[in-house]
């Protein structure tokens, strides 16, 4: 009951206003942007945000690193596509089943991998992702080189794929759900246990936290989100091909969370927007893009390890201080008058 009457500090108010403003802008955006490619472009950001949030659960929250998360997108995508193409189960349900299947695969991978030291875990995930790509290429019924067409997403009788405005709002809703769940997770017992494991696994172990259990759980949650993102990506694009799941693409998700800020709710959002924008601006300059992404990672790790969110937080704090000062000034002025 206490929380209902909680008074917010100015900084919290500033943050809330900023988030609300962003949400409103994004909600009315399709009224002004009618170009269907642009809308597809924004819908795709939703995929990236979900996948990057998933990776952030693993990297930011539980302190494990993976350079192979594209593999979970591949499993999610292919499982969902195969299910919907061959069984006729509604696509939305297929996507959820695929996400759970992907989480299962993540768990199976995590059981032996969670005991590995950081660098070796990276290696294992790289190997896993390379292996997955090769596996897809060797399964001929997936038509890996020319790709498979996917079914349309239908939600309550509405064909989402018929207009990219629908997918835009669907992306928005999915992202909102994922972000809320993620912020709940970070406040829950499991989330705090994962953070304890990240900060010091020995002391976490000493406090009675089952280290292996939470590492595996983090892996499963992140595989769930990435699998869902993969399934959504496949149905959004209408097409699935093995080349969208090559190992180097995993780096992009790491880039997003490093740019946005690890272990934050909005880090992946900022990162995904930045990534998609840069990708579009530098579409023809592949080499420059690679250099730029590398440099971004190097700079952010050295100078802004908290990512853009840390920078924005600092700015928000400054703004809040300014507002406080201003209000205090007004108050004294009013007091002086009376």
């Amino acid at each position: 009951m206490l929380t209902r009457f909680k008074t917010y500090t100015t900084q919290e108010k500033v943050t809330r206003c900023a988030i609300l403003a962003l949400a409103v802008v994004l909600l009315v955006l399709p009224l002004f942007v009618t170009n269907s490619y642009r809308l597809y472009f924004f819908s795709m950001i939703g995929v990236y945000i979900i996948a990057a949030s998933g990776l952030d659960v693993l990297v930011g929250m539980s302190g494990q690193m993976s350079f192979g998360h594209i593999a979970f997108l591949a499993y999610g995508g292919y499982i969902s596509v195969l299910l919907s193409n061959y069984t006729g189960i509604p696509v939305i349900i297929c996507m959820i089943i695929a996400a759970f299947a992907s989480a299962g695969i993540g768990m199976v991978i995590a059981v032996p991998c969670a005991k590995l030291r950081a660098q070796f875990l990276v290696l294992a995930t790289i190997a896993f992702s390379f292996f997955t790509y090769q596996l897809i290429c060797n399964l001929h019924f997936l038509n890996p080189y020319r790709g498979l067409y996917t079914e349309h997403m239908v939600l309550f009788g509405l064909d989402l794929n018929s207009d990219y405005r629908y997918t835009y709002y669907f992306s928005f809703a999915l992202v909102a759900i994922v972000l809320v769940l993620k912020s709940l997770l970070s406040k829950s017992k499991a989330g705090r246990a994962m953070m304890a494991v990240r900060d010091n696994s020995r002391s976490a172990d000493g406090m009675g936290i089952n280290v292996r259990h939470y590492k595996v759980l983090a892996f499963a949650i992140s595989a769930f989100l990435c699998g869902f993102a993969g399934a959504y990506m496949a149905h959004l694009t209408g097409f699935i091909v093995s080349d969208s799941f090559v190992q180097p693409l995993s780096f992009n998700f790491v880039l997003m969370i490093i740019f946005g800020g690890t272990n934050t709710v909005f880090g992946p959002v900022i990162g995904a927007f930045m990534y998609q924008l840069l990708n579009e601006l530098l579409a023809s300059a592949q080499a420059w893009r690679s250099v730029l992404y590398g440099v971004i990672v190097l700079i952010f790790i050295a100078f802004l390890p908290g990512g853009c969110v840390a920078g924005l937080r600092r700015a928000g704090r400054g703004l809040a201080k300014l507002i406080d000062k201003n209000q205090a000034g007004k108050e004294t002025a009013r007091n002086d008058k009376s």
Binding site: F120, V122, L123, A127, F251, L292, G294, I301
Partner: protein, 291 residues
């Protein structure tokens, strides 16, 4: 068939072993998994082919010069970038990310300088194939095998007999104690990175005639190199060679008798299973965390 499969396995295995050696040397000395190592191979092969073909040096001169350039590049990379991050106390998982970022920069830089198209590596010898017990092998492959063996021997002698080599081993086993004995740890680390880059240069020059010099070369063999290091025991330089030969033979047999498209899959599966089942590799005990 059997003999040619075995020879192909041994040749590729020796090269994978050399690639893995590059990873192992650095990991042993500084505990950093250097993902930029594979792009060093790309860079080296591109520099090598430029010196050999465009400048027109002899193969051996081009090899020596490439190794020298790469040694300097690797040492500068450690002094200029990696040591800065280590001094800041960047955590292990982010250190891997730093090397990955570097590899992106190097790869993009290679593409900007040398172009995206693969460059045909001209053959080194005038003879096109050599007959060994009925199997026809290109002389470049035989050269690669013996170069790897020679490289391994030279590195072994360097690490055990020379003063600088012994100093780098001392730093690897205990940096603080080594510093107390008057060894310059910073310089020693730079030597190690330079050495690993020179090894990468050798790999690049050996792989060039086989795959052609291209910007995708590093990613193609890098993971195989990691697989050989892991199966031999990461950080153990002799283990890397054994692991490389093992991987080469397995891959060659799968490619020869099962299906050539399954070849790569088996290599990655081997790496993954090795990490799951026996992360310590055949000769090392560092990969497992105690909790």
């Amino acid at each position: 068939m059997l003999i040619s499969v075995i020879i192909a396995g041994l040749v590729m295995g020796a090269i994978y072993g050399m690639v893995g050696l590059g990873f192992s040397i650095i990991f042993r000395a500084s505990g950093i998994m250097n993902l930029a190592q594979s792009e060093m191979i790309t860079l080296a092969s591109l520099i090598g082919v430029t010196l050999y073909q465009t400048v027109g040096l002899s193969f051996w001169l081009a090899l020596a010069l490439t190794m020298l350039i790469m040694f300097a590049f690797g040492a500068l990379l450690q002094l200029g970038i990696i040591s800065k991050y280590s001094d800041r106390g960047v955590a292990g998982i982010y250190m891997v990310l730093v090397t990955l970022g570097l590899s992106k920069v190097i790869n993009g830089g290679c593409e900007l300088i040398f172009g995206a198209n693969p460059i045909q590596f001209p053959s080194v010898f005038s003879v096109s194939t050599v007959n060994i017990l009925g199997a026809f092998v290109t002389p470049e492959r035989i050269l690669s095998f013996f170069l790897s063996a020679l490289g391994m021997l030279v590195i072994h002698l360097f690490l055990t007999k020379t003063k600088v080599g012994i100093a780098t081993r001392a730093c690897a086993s205990d940096a603080v104690a080594a510093e107390a004995c008057g060894i310059n740890v910073v310089k020693s680390n730079a030597v190690v990175w330079g050495l690993a880059s020179a090894v990468a240069a050798m790999c690049g020059m050996m792989l060039g005639p086989i795959y052609g010099a291209a910007i995708s070369l590093g990613s193609k063999v890098g993971t195989k190199g990691m697989a050989s290091s892991v199966s031999g025991g990461f950080g153990n330089i002799y283990g890397a060679m054994v692991g490389g030969l093992l991987l080469g033979i397995v891959e060659s047999f799968v490619g020869g008798y099962v299906n050539s498209t399954m070849k790569d899959m088996v290599a990655y599966l081997l790496l993954f299973l090795m990490l799951c089942v026996r992360p310590t590799g055949l000769f090392n005990e560092q990969a497992v965390r105690d909790v």
